[in-house]
């Protein structure tokens, strides 16, 4: 390590200390400053343990937290970015906080959630052992560009990568990455057996219509959700992969599935969640995690933090779920519909930088399938846009209430009893959680 790198590192650690003394979050800022003055800084940290990274459009934070939990329960010392600071700035900030004065990072495992576009940037500088790729959906197109651009970024990294690659076999956009480096013998696929609500036709907006290898239209035996399902190219055979880990006998009502003949209880009733758990099981298999630890983790561990997080007050129950793209929102609507009783929906839509300024993705959400939704409340910076979208889908406009102010929206949501679902996008999910928590604290005694 040269003197310059040594000095920038000390400077970075100083920034972290100062921010901590000021009680400011140091999630991204120190990394942003350091990368500004020394763009190679990531390469000067010395990591002495294997790195496992999780990437893909949806589910990164959940899977990262679960894998981290598995290792921790196995008695390992793990470093992770569990709050989802997943760009190079976030990783540098995390390392600055934890490294020795000479830049050493000591742990048994590093489990990192990494933004799709940052996979090549980060792992050009750090030695990766295992990459888990969950899915690719359209997401914040104005920030990320077309989905294809992101896939090509990850693919270009994988072309020379020799480590473990764990891929979702049921997403053609992910499965294609298995061919990025034909020399790599460590490519492993996970898959989920057809579940009860799988469909013959695509039900929600999807990407993988054409074979990424030869351009022929893909043939689907069934769709689990969006473009995730059992597919094959009739021309070149793409899609026929040997499965390393298969989740079978998916029973969402009773919340369990089996893997390699063993039954596991899970904490959630969405197929989308089952796919996240399939990735977790694949990681557990690869790292020989004890079966009982895996069973207990799947049964009891919860990420919360706005991911299917449950709240209740008086005679009301609310579930908040983050949805930053149509597939995420469609999943919550699926869960709503699979819940038999009457319910109300609140949708909070922001258009801040981290959300993408473009809100046209809400038109890819399937509101016309609404069942037993007695009232809709909208809020956020684009409260009116989402109200227009829901109205146009055919929902009775007299049952839509718009409150751009979040506290006002939450107060009105809880003015009635019953089941509530809250969908919030990226920058609105934490303020929404806080508004709900504040409301509950304020009103607990009265109810």
């Amino acid at each position: 390590m040269g003197l310059y790198n040594f000095l920038t590192l000390q400077f970075g650690k100083l920034i972290v200390k100062v921010l901590q003394l000021l009680h400011k979050g140091a999630g991204n800022l120190p990394g942003l400053i350091l990368l500004g003055i020394n763009k190679n800084i990531l390469g000067y940290f010395k990591v002495d343990c294997p790195i496992i990274a999780v990437t893909g459009t949806n589910g990164k934070t959940s899977v990262t937290n679960f894998v981290n939990h598995l290792f921790e329960q196995s008695g390992k010392n793990v470093i992770t970015n569990k709050l989802g600071n997943n760009l190079d700035t976030g990783i540098v900030s995390l390392f600055l906080k934890l490294c020795s004065p000479t830049g050493k990072i000591h742990a048994d495992y590093l489990v990192l959630e990494i933004d799709e576009s940052h996979v090549p940037v980060i792992f050009k500088k750090l030695k990766l052992e295992t990459l888990i790729v969950l899915n690719f959906f359209r997401d914040q197109l104005d920030r990320n560009g077309e989905v294809e651009t992101l896939i090509l970024k990850v693919k270009s990294f994988l072309e020379t990568f020799q480590g473990n690659v764990i891929l979702n076999a049921d997403d053609p956009n992910v499965a294609r990455l298995g061919q990025a480096n034909p020399e790599n013998k460590n490519v492993k696929y996970f898959s989920v057996e057809k579940y009860k609500y799988a469909t013959d036709k695509i039900h929600e907006v999807g990407e993988g219509k054409f074979c990424p290898v030869c351009g022929e239209a893909l043939e689907y035996e069934y769709y689990q959700y969006s473009h995730i399902g059992r597919f094959k190219c009739p021309k070149c055979g793409f899609g026929d992969n040997e499965i390393y880990l298969k989740v079978e006998n998916v029973d969402l009502e009773n919340r369990h599935f089996t893997v390699d003949g063993r039954e596991y209880n899970i904490n959630n009733q969405s197929i989308y969640y089952v796919y996240n758990m399939a990735a977790v099981c694949a990681a557990a298999k690869l790292y020989n995690i004890d079966g009982d630890i895996l069973r207990d983790t799947l049964d009891t561990f919860e990420v919360n933090n706005g991911r299917m997080e449950k709240f209740s007050i008086g005679k009301s129950n609310a579930v908040i779920n983050l949805a930053k793209n149509p597939v995420g929102a469609n999943m919550t609507i699926r869960v709503m519909n699979e819940t038999g009783c009457e319910k109300e929906l609140m949708f909070v839509l922001n258009d801040n930088l981290a959300d993408g300024y473009d809100v046209s993705w809400i038109w890819d959400i399937n509101f016309e399938v609404f069942k037993d939704v007695t009232r809709v409340i909208t809020s956020g910076r684009r409260a009116y846009d989402i109200a227009i979208r829901i109205k146009t889908s055919g929902y009775d406009p007299s049952k839509i209430e718009v409150y751009p102010d979040l506290d006002e929206a939450v107060e009105n949501l809880f003015s009635t009893d019953g089941e509530k679902f809250i969908i919030a996008n990226y920058t609105s999910v934490q303020p929404t959680r806080m508004a709900v928590i504040n409301y509950i604290e304020k009103n607990q005694r009265e109810k």
Binding site: E148, K209, Y357, D358, S360, W361, W363, V402
Partner: protein, 249 residues
């Protein structure tokens, strides 16, 4: 009772559906239905045979990625004569982004590959080879609909720079338009609106949606009265965004 109806042909809806553009059809159907006009939406995609283009009141194309635009270019060319005939017969064309580009002379994509357009209209488009150089953001233009000025709001996201649009759709009040920081946006004529505006376009511009519905209804021989609808939500959405974007300047 004779049902009033508008016939819509949605071309390549399975490929050109990147930015929620299918929502435009939903808005048209919703607003037509509120006036007692049914919309019949049919599809043409790669390989569809014997599409009778002239039998439709509206032909619609949305936006897509470069990859999809390459895939459909050949099919589109094979329908050229029939599509031109429909335009001459007065079918209305609503063309968004990729659909806009493909109806011009040519489109040179971000990989430098040239896709021949249908040449229905005189403009052409070239994208920067730098994939990060795109016009992205909220956009407001001022268009003229039957002599009345109307602010149209949407979201643009395009690498393609379109030149020689003799008759632009509108004057840019906020955003980029046909090229980086240009004054003009889109292409416009009696029975065509071609534009880069997503949002989807018609979701926050109810008068524009009604302009198209009125044209189509009259063409199909239903002189339906386009009665006013309750557009409170739309007007509030517009007010907030105009306040945020135009007053910034």
């Amino acid at each position: 009772m004779i049902m009033k109806e508008i016939r819509i042909l949605h071309m390549y809806s399975d490929m050109l559906d990147l930015y929620g553009d299918n929502g435009n059809i939903e808005v048209l159907s919703y607003r037509a239905k509120a006036r007692g006009i049914e919309t019949v939406v049919e599809h043409h995609s790669v390989g569809t045979k014997d599409t009778d283009f002239s039998s439709y009141d509206l032909i619609y194309l949305g936006g897509g990625a470069d990859f999809e635009q390459q895939l459909l270019a050949e099919d589109l060319q094979s329908c050229r004569d029939e599509i031109m005939k429909a335009y001459d017969n007065g079918t209305f064309f609503l063309l968004i982004c990729g659909g806009y580009q493909l109806m011009g002379e040519y489109y040179k994509d971000s990989n430098g590959e040239v896709i021949n357009g249908l040449g229905m209209f005189p403009y052409h488009t070239a994208a920067s080879l730098n994939k990060n150089k795109r016009c992205i953001g909220n956009i407001i233009i001022e268009a003229e609909l039957n002599g009345e000025k109307y602010k149209v709001i949407g979201f643009e996201n395009h690498g393609g720079q379109t030149s020689q649009t003799e008759k632009p759709f509108g004057r840019v009040l906020y955003g980029n338009g046909n090229r980086f920081e240009s004054k003009d946006e889109g292409y416009f004529d009696k029975n065509v609106i071609a534009t880069y505006l997503h949002g989807p376009l018609l979701s926050k511009n109810p008068k524009l949606a009604d302009h198209i519905i009125k044209y189509c209804a009259e063409r199909s021989g239903n002189s339906a009265e386009i009665t006013p609808l309750d557009d409170t939500l739309e007007e509030k959405a517009r007010e907030i965004l105009f306040g945020r974007l135009i007053n910034l300047k």
